[in-house]
Subunit: 361 residues, 4 copies
């Protein structure tokens, strides 16, 4: 009763109550409250030393198949709704010898970044793709895909999907394949033979799709390219860094996920900048630190680091003798398409942040 | 206690508990639960007969200015986080004679669709844009904009912004203009003089931006074009319908918001289809119904209708003598850019849904 | 014998003779001779006072039909191989009441710029296009087209084709239509109803072709747009000038021919510049002069002026009370596509050339 | 007198004479004469066995330098104005140990296809490009370039330029470099380190130019790619064939010249087709025949073959044990940009032409 009375004596509040009941709201109230705040969230690190034992437990507890579909531990950033960042997911998938992760398809697109093992095949719309450490393998949206480990050791990789974007857009649909594994309709290496040279295209192919026709980017060329580039140029913010591209268009590999490979040379300490895009790093080699908004985050091989949007960040290779290599996925293509990309160099202190704290999970 | 004991005796549950504590999750559990569901939500109608008296109340209760900024009633779809659909907002803005809605800018982009009144100017990055009923006026992201009513009657328009998209992307930033109204730096009609012919461009202009350089699309040509097109062709699903375009590229007016104008001829009953995009309709003229997933929703002049994504829908003009005209905004450009657009014609019953219910708010 | 002896005693000349016999040449000889010279050619003016009486004679002498096909006087620039410039042709076509210029098609594309008369239709792949003074009508490459004059007066227009480009590329093919006139398969005004608003597109159309889907650009909007633009901005080199565009892409109307409309305001004297492209002007209204490489060329209504590539040029409206209006075609799209476009402002004398001579044909 | 009388008694002829004097022509006369004919011309073969001894003579007769600029024998197709085809040139360039072909630049673009030798550098706008057999090196239009042979053997390569196109467009300009060789401003391999992976781009590079930022395409990857593709797919008309691409856009390497590499597997006899584009082949390896419009043209290593536009052609590898490899340049990008590309499969005899003659030069 008291509440009702109060309400009825404040015409503004009465108005608010009335319009809320009609699914309307007063914009000026939001404005009065200061409008959008907290456009970002804290960074998050997942230690491989924590994940790795859990993947072993998962090996015992669950088997890919009709019930479990995938043996996947997802990186669950508490600041997001089920992603590693607010736009992309990250996860670790393990397939044991002889196992099949049964085929399905979904409107969300995925990339696989191979961490460990050999001899597993991902079947992407009928093309069997080999998976070796350091390879990048694409499974574009709505392609049938399953995995089969034909080797005698476990296979471990990073999955990264655009699920948060697609969920946000209410565009997520999913379908199981009627059988266990969609069959191979092409020989192993088909798309690599066509597009793998990068700058050669079969004269009869004329792809203009925003989805790369090349499904696998093998590690050997990636690694060599990093070392080649290191001799010529580097970014003050990212050191030696490449964006993987769709060879048919020169743009990002997928319209919703960008992929980068990055080498921090021994002793490198980059300058800080920030951009509207977010990223999920996997430490492929080495150890070091990333300073995010003044907080130093130490990482070592196998760790995953979620970089939130619009956050000052700079990278440090913790070794003065060895390279550190970071693979990362990002939402860059989305920001480019929607004209929302901006970046800034850190203006103070010659570009280096003051470290104001140490990250602890 | 009982709960704890159960947990500790179920190794699976114990595992789940443990990984949750480490910001990890088990994908197979989500899969076991059936994966993504409910990719859409119900349609929503806002009646002008409800909104209109509330705008009058708002005229008494609040005045645009430093505190309130805007006299805007937002369409608050309860199935979304503050949008009319999950990707775009809708609202009704009223500016009274002599009032100024002070200038600001935000990364979110807006369109204005003029409903009533005359003699108000929207200042868009220094270009004063006239606002007359049926005009479409753009305020692209990060442009300074304010409104000033120099007439002797109230001015009413529909706002539609990409705020939910931009919020989702954590890319929302906002800035008040240091003064009340950003000053005019161009004469009235500047962008119309350059690009208003639609298919003529000043020889010294070479815009390739995804943001239309034309800021105002006046009603006279829109209306004439609808009647011209009606004599030649129409869509089975949308009847006589145009997409507004960026004259410099032929694409949608903004990278995040598409705008349509649509005329349902007397007696027209379109066939049903569905698409991954959502839309917010404003009934500019006439009355009729839209059947969404079997539910008939009756509308009349001034009403707003939110069409959720992937929903079967067909339109009926309720009059056999007069046209009905619908303006709408949609997230089409986003779905096109991210390669997520699909549509389907309703396969049964010659393309018409069976009506299984009547909409009530 | 003497000649042979001379040859045999000069080893260089002997070498040249030998390789020429084998369809080889010595590049160094060309280099020694100074390489490419004379990249351009003189401007050329055709007076309407000369052409007009000849069109009358042509009306008596020849009738369009199976034998003559077209009553067309072509502007034969002696510096080119059959063009008005080296890349585009210009011509005057006359169709008398009741006449039909029978249908054919060719890989070369054409534009028609209507000078005089009314009531003639050009049939473009089944779409009948009205022709009124000041209209621009397109007949893209390989479209069937014929003309029929259903009025009671003669019809006169300017033709401009990309024939020299297409001939150069050995891509010219031509086919007569089996009958007199290809039949109408669409109503008059079809493409105008779809694309004529310029910035509205039927929601079911998704043209991305480099060929404009709009076939007719009527004079009324062109003229109004010139006057509108005049109030806001102008080019120092071209005064008030628009490029006609393909409304589906914002680019030139055809991949091989650009079209401009240009208004020199009373008393205007533009500054000089030069560009790699050439143009053919038709004086639609008024009188004045163009100074090309120092030579003053006076023109009046109806005249045609060929502007050679890379030539300094500036325009003068000869009247201080009336506008002068120039329509022109150019090879701009070709130079843009092939990355060969450059332009320069005249660097001396505040941008104005010294007049060193007067043009006489 | 007689002539004058005849003329004066034929009013048509009198008219023709009169208008010719005024730089006008009568289109109907051209039409009466049947319009454009002979859109193509015969194929042309240049034998290496003929060229090679002449290059040796040229080594004795001429030295690159200020006077001779380049020791280049051009393939002078008598059916064209100084090209190997009507749109592209072909030539053989030789640089002897210690020699410098001095730097210059021209609006025409060039490619170099290395035939023999090692240790020569082409300096392209400050980037020194290594040249090894089978490499493709680009010198885009208006880039300073010179060559220096630092090895102890002669260097031989094929030049192919877009000179006929650029001359036709009157866009040819040329400038000598003030000094002998433009200096290196970048280290050897700069563009390869950035773009040489083909599908990796430095994150700070954002080229969208139609000119490839990659200047050298080394043979090793080309050769491997041909063998890889051979295992998967081939064209019925061209067997195993790649188009070299601009890695930043996926399109042809230059806006005016396309480059192909093609492997005819042992015993292959392709089907015939024709297209509006022309090509110049260099036989890099092997021997065989090409049948052009019924004429069989036998070729062996080192030969050059000009394929005219719109000519039926099929290829035969003359060996049943060894691959034949053809490099070729073509005008494909021009035809694509100008919307003039068409192709047809040979409709009769299961796709194979009847051989009606044997080519002899």
């Amino acid at each position: 009763m008291a509440v009702d009375q109060v309400t009825s004596t404040d015409p503004m509040q009465a108005f608010y109550d009335e319009i809320h009941g009609k699914d309307l709201d007063a914009l000026w109230r939001a404005h009065a409250e200061g409008g959008p705040r907290d456009a970002s969230y804290p960074p998050r690190l997942w230690k491989w030393s924590v994940i790795e034992p859990l993947t072993r437990r998962a090996m015992e507890l669950v088997t890919p198949g009709p019930d479990a579909v995938r043996r996947v531990l997802t990186l669950n950033n508490p600041s997001t709704r089920g992603g590693a960042t607010h736009t992309i997911t990250g996860a670790v998938q393990v397939v044991l010898p002889g196992e099949i992760a049964p085929s399905h398809r979904h409107t969300a697109a995925a990339i696989r970044w191979i961490i460990k093992g050999s001899g597993t095949i991902t079947m992407v719309d009928g093309e069997p793709c080999m998976m070796e450490p350091g390879d990048l393998v694409l499974t574009p949206g709505w392609t049938w895909h399953g995995h089969i480990n034909q080797s005698d050791g476990p296979m471990v990789w990073m999955d990264s999907l655009d699920v948060p974007m697609v969920m946000t857009l209410k565009a997520m649909r999913q379908e199981p394949y009627p059988d266990e594994l969609n069959p191979a309709t092409k020989p192993i290496g088909d798309s690599e033979a066509r597009y793998g040279a990068g700058y050669l295209q079969p004269v009869w192919e004329h792809s203009t799709s925003p989805i790369s026709p090349l499904l696998r980017y093998p590690w050997a060329r990636t690694e060599k390219s990093l070392h080649d580039l290191a001799k010529f140029d580097a970014s003050p913010f990212d050191d030696v860094a490449f964006r993987y591209t769709n060879p048919a268009t020169g743009k990002d590999v997928l319209p919703t996920i960008g992929c980068w490979i990055q080498m921090l040379r021994p002793g490198v300490h980059t300058k800080a900048h920030r951009h509207t895009t977010s990223a999920l790093y996997q430490v492929y080699r080495g150890h070091g630190s990333t300073i995010v908004n003044g907080t130093q985050i130490d990482w070592e091989e196998g760790d995953f680091l979620a970089l939130p949007p619009w956050s000052w960040h700079e990278h440090i290779n913790g070794s003065t003798s060895d390279d550190a290599i970071l693979f990362s996925t990002n939402d860059g293509p989305v920001f480019q398409s929607l004209n929302l990309y901006t970046e800034q160099a850190y203006p103070d202190n010659k570009g280096y942040q003051a470290v104001t704290g140490q990250y602890s999970a």
